[in-house]
Structures are given as C-alpha cells and as structure tokens.
C-alpha cells in the first residue's frame, strides 16, 4: 500500500471505471444517483448501501464511464466486512483484475477533520483522485467556512464542491472524468501513522482557514427534547403509534376500491369463461388469490412513505440512538440495532447490514434476531387477520383498535428480535471489546421529494414483482392441489351432492383435494392452536412467502361464496374433527395465528441469504427450527390467554 506505483494500464476497450469512496452519509448515494440516473436508496445511518452498485454515466462527448458506488467506510483498515469490500475492490483496482481509472472521494464539509483521515489513506493508493466536497451549503448554514481552492493546494488533489440538487458541481465532475490525465497529483502522499495524519489534517485545515460548523441551534434545541431519555422515548412511541394508525385509516378506502375491482373482475371471469377449470383458475386463483394480496399495495406504499419520511427528516437516526441505549443495556452493539432497523422493511437487507459488524459472533447473533422484526410481507397477513379480530370502528379513546393491535405486533416483534439476539450472543459467547461505533446525527432536513418517491416506488415495484412471481406461482400450485383430484358425477352422487349445485360441488372437491389431505395430515400439530386444515394449508403455503397465506384463504373463501368472500371467511366452520360446525376464526384462533406469524420464519429468501452470509446451512436450520418452535409455543399461549378472556 505504501509504494506509490503507477496506476494499472488499461488494455482493451472497456469504458473507464471510477469508484465512489466515502464515509456513510457523505452523500455518496445521492451523487451516484445524479451521475447514473440509477436509483439506489439514500440513508442517514450506516449500513444502508451494503450491496454493490454499478452504473453508467454519459459524458459530454457521449462516451460513457462506469461508476461503482462502494459501501460507506470511515477508513480503509478492513475491520468490518463492509470495509473489507472497499479494501478488496480498491486492491483489485490496483492489481489490474478490475482496473480503476480514478477514485472519486466524497468528503463531508461539516465533518472535514475526520474525512481527511480517509483521504490520507486513499492517497496512499496509486490511483488518480478527485475529491467531491459535499454539504458545503450546510457548513455555511451552520456558521462554518472553508477555502476550497486552498484545500486543493494543500492536499494536492482537486476539490469539487457538489451540493445536492445543484447540477453545476456534477457537471464539473463529469467534465473532469473525461480527462483523468489532467488530475493533479500530490507531491508526496500524506503520512501513514495516525499522529502524522492528524498533524497533516490540522495543517491542511489551518491553511484552508477552516472554521468548524457550530452546532446547529435549531437541531440541538429539537434534539434536547427528542433525545431526552424520558420525553424522547415517549415521543418515539407516540410517533410509532400514529404511524400505524395512519396505515389503517388512510389505506382502508383505497384498499376497498381495489377489493371491489377484483371482485368485479372475478364475476366477469366466472360469467364469461366457458371452460369450468379455466374459469376457476382465473377467478379463484388469479383474481381472488393473487388479487387478494395485491389489495395491500396501498398499505405497502404507505409504510414505505412513512419510513422514508422519518428517515429523510433525520428522525430515524434519533430513534436508532434512543433504541441504541436499550440495546446497550442488553450488551448488544449499536450497529446491531441498525441491522434490526433495516429489517423493518425486509429481513434480507437487515441480514446484509450485519456486514457492518466487525465481530462474526455479533453478526450471527444479530442474524438470529433480524427475521423477528416485522417485515413488510407480514403486513397483508396482519391487516387481514386484525380485520377479522376487531371491527374497524372500535376505538380506545382517540386510537383505533386495529392500529393499536398492529403497533403491538410490531413492538412484540422488535422486543423478541432483541431478546433473541441477546440470547444468541450469550450462547455463542462474548466477542471481546466493542469497537467504537459512529452513528451520525444529521441535522434535521426537509426530506427530498425525489428520494421519497423513489423509495416508495421501489417498494411497490418489489412488491408487485413478488406478487407476479413467487406468490402467483405458489397460488397456482395451490389451486391445483385444492382442485385435484377431479370428481366425476358418480363420485358426487355417491357422496350425496347435487352436481348442479356449483357451490356444493366446489366445497366437496376442495374438501377432498390433495391439499386437504396434506392439511389434515399435519392437523395433529396445529390442532391445539385451533387451526383447521384450511389454515394449515395456508400456513404451509406461506413458507414460500408469507403473503401466500392471504391468497390461499382468498381462494378457499371465493370458492365457498364467490359473491362475498370476506363473509365466507368470517363464517367459515370446521368441517371435521372435534369442533365440527364451530366457527374457525374465533378470536383465540385469530390471536394464535397472529402470534404465530410474529415468530415463524416463513421466508425461503431469508434462509437463502443467511446461508450465503454465514457460509453454512447450520445457522438457517437453527433459525428455522427455533423460530418454528417458538411460534407454536407463543401461539398456543396466545390462544390460552385470549380464549380465557373471551
């Protein structure tokens, strides 16, 4: 690293490659987006940009260059897997495996002293460097200042100030990428020893007349309240409570609209498709089943809208800070909370965010907890079941009961996730001294409309993709399992069913289908929880993806009463066993189901990512088994408690 060799010479005609290097929150992702037009999420806390992003940028002369957005890093010492990624890519860029033509280093003007430490390390590499100085507007707003040209002279590399939303900085960076040969190089690289680097940074800052930003008065006043151990926590819970109220009250009308649309489409399909089995496939499986999941699109959009509002305004970092104290009491590292927080959208980015943890033991402990955080896939299941449990107009004072229960489920998931991470950490053993953890407290900002729109759009797109791929596939397979074997009129007569009564025929077919056989086969396991074979099939099918539970129940209900599937579901009765004739969805069974979904690890993708990140099947298997067992036990307790209250 210390030798100042010539950069690798490019062979062939591959477009020039540049890498973005910078600390988390230096504005890397925003710059990447405006350079490439590709969309990647911007975040306020470390661990957001974990995956490897590459994009194309078109220069003025219409030639293009490749831009790689490296994970945010505070140094090039490979302490955590994230920093390892950066070190590896830069190493490969030097050795010629994947040559890099230049590095674009992003430095946060409000955090210049620490940022220069990173620049000092990057300057040990042989690559040409250009620095993009971000947040100079915020520096000025907070009463700081810096002479950008003097910074260039003192460090020997070019500094280009780029302010988010201002195209001039990006244009000037774009221009310079077309002419790497003209990038200035320092006479000699900065020192490598820590105290030498500190002296160098001081000297550079002095000669650039750097005045550090005073703490933002507005931000510190707000923080005085929001980070207060008592008031802050109270406000946090009130915010979250309001959050879930909004998800129910605002999304409900839109949801009704989509529901009506799919019911109408189902009617049209049933009336106009002459082939019986095809009409059933389209109306029951595709429209009632898959459509039943699509109904939850407004909730998904709203969930991500609210999350990105909280994130973009800077509040999510405060929430992370508050919760970090709680994590601290449990002996967990702050970074682990960040991974858990990411899991609120989906456990997969959460598990990948554990890469920021330097200790393998902490990583595994966190991974064991992450899937318990309530991911967006649980949302449709929760909304459906809560709707059956309590009416929408039931209120506790100003709070809707549905939203309150939803909040409770999220809370239960979060607490369980932390307890589980704590438990696994105890078992696996301590990881020695915790390393310093930087959590940025950005000033409060108005969230950027474009970032929010992109985040909501990406979430909706991912949801639609999931609905039209794995969910649709599983639904069609289930339709097959629910409708085969086919029954002849002779079979029906023997069973005493009038073959002209379509509903009765359908009920008979389903009740004697392959799926019913499977559902009944596992019923000894779920019988204590009050599940009937249809719920069993739903639970089993949700192993592919949690939302399939909704589409399975949608199919069954539509078959029983195509005109009013919701009523059919509510009034569904046990067809066999000890409870024949009794309602299936009693409050205690619904509660048991809800709790079951809080704990069960019904997500193949999560297991796959765990396998990839740990390199062994051992941990996914352990996670699946322990969460399955826990789900059963907790569901059983929930049934007991709710049954006792009723």
């Amino acid at each position: 690293m210390s030798c100042h060799a010539e950069p690798p010479i490019r062979v062939g005609t591959a477009p020039p490659r540049f890498a973005l290097v910078g600390s988390p929150n230096a504005g890397k992702t925003t710059l990447f987006n405006s350079l490439t037009g590709l969309r990647a999420k911007t975040g306020n806390y470390p661990g957001v940009t974990v995956a490897r992003y590459e994009g194309r940028h078109i220069l003025d002369d219409d030639s293009h260059v490749t831009i790689e957005d490296l994970p945010g890093t505070y140094s090039l010492d490979p302490m955590s897997p994230d920093e390892q990624v950066v070190a590896t890519v830069l190493e490969a860029g030097t050795s010629g495996d994947e040559p890099l033509d230049g590095l674009i280093v992003l430095l946060d003007a409000t955090n210049l002293r620490r940022s220069l430490g990173l620049l000092a390390q990057v300057q040990q590499l042989p690559h040409p460097i250009t620095v993009v100085l971000t947040f100079t507007d915020e520096l000025a707003r907070r009463g700081g200042s810096v002479d950008v040209l003097a910074l260039s002279r003192a460090t020997g590399v070019r500094f280009i100030p780029v302010i988010a939303g201002d195209k001039r900085g990006v244009a000037s960076l774009s221009e310079s990428m077309g002419d790497v040969a003209s990038w200035p190089k320092p006479m000699l690289p900065p020192p490598t020893d820590p105290s030498g680097v500190a002296d160098w940074a001081t000297s550079v800052l002095d000669s650039a007349s750097f005045r550090a930003p005073g703490s933002d008065k507005r931000t510190s006043r707000i923080d005085g309240v929001l980070l207060h151990p008592v008031w802050g926590t109270v406000i946090f819970f009130v915010t979250m409570m309001a959050f879930f109220q909004v998800i129910f009250s605002v999304a409900a009308p839109m949801q009704d609209g989509i529901e009506t649309l799919f019911a109408w489409l189902g009617g049209v399909a049933r009336a106009n498709i002459p082939v019986a089995w095809l009409s059933s496939l389209v109306a029951d499986a595709l429209l009632a089943g898959v459509g039943g999941v699509l109904v939850f699109l407004p909730q998904i959009a709203l969930l991500f809208l609210l999350i990105s509002l909280l994130e973009g305004s800077g509040y999510l970092s405060r929430a992370a800070f508050l919760m970090d104290r709680v994590m601290g009491w449990a002996g967990l590292e702050g970074r682990a909370f960040v991974a858990l927080l990411s899991s609120m959208a989906c456990a997969i980015p959460g598990i990948m965010a554990t890469r920021t943890l330097p200790s393998a033991k902490d990583r595994i402990a966190t991974m064991m907890g992450a899937p318990l955080m309530t991911c967006s896939a649980r949302l449709p299941v929760y909304v459906l079941l809560i709707g059956m449990l309590v009416p929408g107009d039931l209120r506790f004072g100003p709070l809707g009961a549905q939203g309150a229960i939803m909040f409770g489920l999220y809370l239960l998931g979060a607490i369980s996730a932390m307890l589980s991470a704590w438990f696994f950490k105890k078992i696996i053993g301590r990881s020695g001294v915790g390393l310093p953890f930087y959590m940025e407290m950005p000033s409060y900002r108005l969230p950027r409309g474009r970032t929010i729109a992109v985040s909501v759009w990406d979430a909706c797109k991912a949801f639609l993709k999931k609905v039209t791929s794995i969910i649709m596939l599983t639904t069609i397979i289930l339709w097959g399992l629910l409708n085969f074997p086919l029954r002849s009129d002779a079979d029906l007569q023997r069973a005493g069913i009038d073959s002209r009564d379509e509903v009765a025929v359908k009920a008979f077919v389903i009740d004697n289908s392959i799926a019913a056989g499977i559902g009944r086969a596992v019923s000894p396991v779920f019988e204590p929880l009050g599940f009937d074979w249809r719920i069993n099939v739903g639970v089993l099918s949700s192993l592919a993806a949690r939302e399939v539970f909704v589409s399975t129940l949608g199919q069954v209900a539509a078959a029983e009463d195509p005109d009013d599937p919701v009523a059919a579901l509510t009034n569904m009765t046990h067809t066999d066993g000890a409870h024949v004739g009794e309602k299936v969805f009693t409050p205690s069974t619904v509660a048991a189901l809800l709790v079951f979904f809080v704990y069960a690890l019904q997500c193949m993708s999560t297991l796959g990512v765990m396998r990839r990140e740990t390199g062994t099947w051992k941990w996914p298997v352990i996670a699946f088994v322990y969460m399955g067992g826990l789900a059963w036990l907790m569901a059983w307790l929930a049934k007991l408690v709710v049954g006792g209250m009723a």
Binding site: H4, M187, L188, P191, D199, S207
Partner: protein
C-alpha cells in the same frame, strides 16, 4: 507535541516543495546552513536550495531524487529543524520574495483577486520591494485598485516582514483586454 505540517507544490518548480509549518522566530531569507538533519541533507546535495519565510520552508530536491522517496524523511527533518538551533539564514532574499509574491497572486489570493475582476502578475522583485502588473482591473476604478493593492501588500508582508513597498507597473494600461463592467460602459456613452 509535533508541529502540524503539509507540503504544497510550487508552480513551475517541479523539484520544489513548500512545507507549510510554523517557523517560529526563524529569520526570513535564503538558508545558508540548516539545523538538525536538514544540515547534512544540504551538505550532501540532497537538498539543493532552501528558503525560510513566515509559516513555510521552501526546499528544492536534487534532480536525481524523487519526492515520493525522500519526502517523508525531509518532512520529519523540517518539523524537527524549525525548533532546533543552528540556522544560518540571510536577511531577506529577492528570489524568495518573488516566489512568495507568485504564490500570493496565483494561489493564496487567487479567488479574491478574480472576484474583483483582476489579473495580477509579478513583474519584478528586489530584496524589499515587488513590482506587480495589475492588468486592467483597476484602471477605471481607483478604489478597487487600492483595495486589491492593500490586500496583496498586507498578505505579502505577513509572510515576508522585510517588505518595504508594493508598486504597480507604471503602464498598467497594458494590451490585456479589460473586463468591461457596466459602469465602464456607462462612462463611455
């Protein structure tokens, strides 16, 4: 505690580095003999020329050496040397004043000067005076010219205390195109 230090390139002098470091009470001028390990470096010809000004040390490396090789050791020698005894420095130097003046007008004050529509170049320097060509900037606006002149003079004197005067090139109405300010146009019509 060690003194903060960093190197800056010298335009047009590829073998030179200006070390920005607190030089304390050292006299300002050309170095005849340097203190600490800088002394032998000069004697054996590794460093061929050296100046001290307020706040930096200028060093020229012999052509057979490169800064990437020698730089780190010279950096350490400069940091240790500025606090050591044994310096022999001339009282002022016309060459040094010229280098400093170039650095001020093209580097340190460049943003300020261009923001005033100016284009200053160094014409000549003696041991205590410097002649500058103010381009066309100040021809039509005496007040602005004086602002620029004063600012340059103050900045130069802070780095080179022996400076006696900064004079403008007599024929400042040079061939260089003048920036046209709205005021300028008004005057002509």
């Amino acid at each position: 505690m060690r003194k903060p230090i960093h190197p800056e390139a010298v335009t047009g002098e590829p073998q030179a580095i200006r070390w920005v470091v607190d030089t304390g009470d050292l006299p300002v001028g050309e170095v005849l003999h340097a203190a600490g390990t800088l002394g032998p470096m000069m004697e054996y010809g590794v460093i061929t020329r050296m100046f001290v000004e307020r706040g930096s040390v200028w060093t020229w490396l012999a052509p057979e050496h490169t800064w990437t090789d020698r730089g780190p050791r010279i950096r350490d020698a400069v940091v240790a040397g500025v606090d050591a005894d044994g310096w022999d420095v001339t009282d002022g130097s016309a060459d040094l004043l010229r280098f400093i003046a170039d650095d001020v007008v093209h580097g340190q004050l460049f943003t300020f000067i261009t923001s005033h529509g100016g284009q200053i170049s160094v014409v000549d320097a003696t041991i205590d005076a410097v002649v500058l060509d103010f381009g066309g900037a100040c021809a039509d606006c005496p007040a602005q010219g004086q602002t620029l002149h004063d600012r340059v003079e103050v900045t130069l004197r802070a780095r080179y205390p022996r400076l006696r005067e900064v004079s403008k090139l007599a024929s400042s109405h040079s061939a260089a195109p003048r920036p046209r300010s709205p005021l300028h146009l008004l005057k002509r019509t």
